[in-house]
Symmetry: C2
Subunit: 135 residues, 2 copies
Amino acid sequence: MRIGQLAQLVGVETQTIRFYEQQGLLPPPDRQDNGYRVYTEKHGEGLAFIRRCRILGLSLAEIHELQSYQDDPHQPCTAVNALLDDHISHVRSQITALQALEKQLVSLRASCNDDREVEACGVLAGISEGNMHQL
Amino acid sequence: MRIGQLAQLVGVETQTIRFYEQQGLLPPPDRQDNGYRVYTEKHGEGLAFIRRCRILGLSLAEIHELQSYQDDPHQPCTAVNALLDDHISHVRSQITALQALEKQLVSLRASCNDDREVEACGVLAGISEGNMHQL
DNA sequence: TTTAAACTATAAAGCTACTATAAGGTCAAT
DNA sequence: ATTGACCTTATAGTAGCTTTATAGTTTAAA
Ligand SMILES: [Zn+2]
Ligand SMILES: [Zn+2]
Ligand SMILES: [Zn+2]
Ligand SMILES: [Zn+2]
């Protein structure tokens, strides 16, 4: 299988595949005499694994870590579970932060319901006055 | 006021101030004979405005847009309010996406409550099997 | 007074996870 | 023979800084 076929199969761009190879997430495939990369089914599985991890929001570093666990299949999976726990709490804190942000933005927006001149815009005034507890 | 004092006053790093100047968000200040930047109170206000916008999650481009409105104070503030509305909906969609992600991660995590070998880890299996509706 | 700490300057690279562009080699078909 | 689709590498761009390198300036201590 050449790179274009693999890309289409998994639903990524060819550059992304080369990028993952360069980052050490995908093993370098064999090459044809003309230099073209030749991929096996294993590469397809590896690439699909990476993509599913990315969809779950895992960073390339975290994926790398998971791969290192896969290479050592008789270790206890504590580290894998811990990695996911960390990631979940990371996602949760992002959610919390964004919810607080939304609240602030909504109250800021509420300070200017009508059409005024920029000079008197409640939104701009709210930002400029700096009545935000963060700063 | 020199750059270090301004930085301390507003709570940013000096490089960040130079960066904002370079990006056209902060007007270039006068210079001393030795080349050192000299800032006025106005610069402090401008910088604080930028920082508060950043805390609200606004991009530098959005901040630039807001500044252009400030420069034209007798326009109606419709565009300001609209910018904020857009930003709020952006934040909301991020929250929604992250909540869906969290749900998926939690269910994935639940598939491996006990300590097993990596080989049998429910988390890794869950990712590898690809029973995710996205892919 | 010398010297070292603290401050300033510019320019360039690094960070994440790609995406896009450039310039070119290979292959099948027309 | 030439088009078009595919492949190659290398390089730059994205966002918002942060870090590093290198060097000049000011200020305070020894
Ligand atoms: Zn994570
Ligand atoms: Zn308004
Ligand atoms: Zn926005
Ligand atoms: Zn497990």
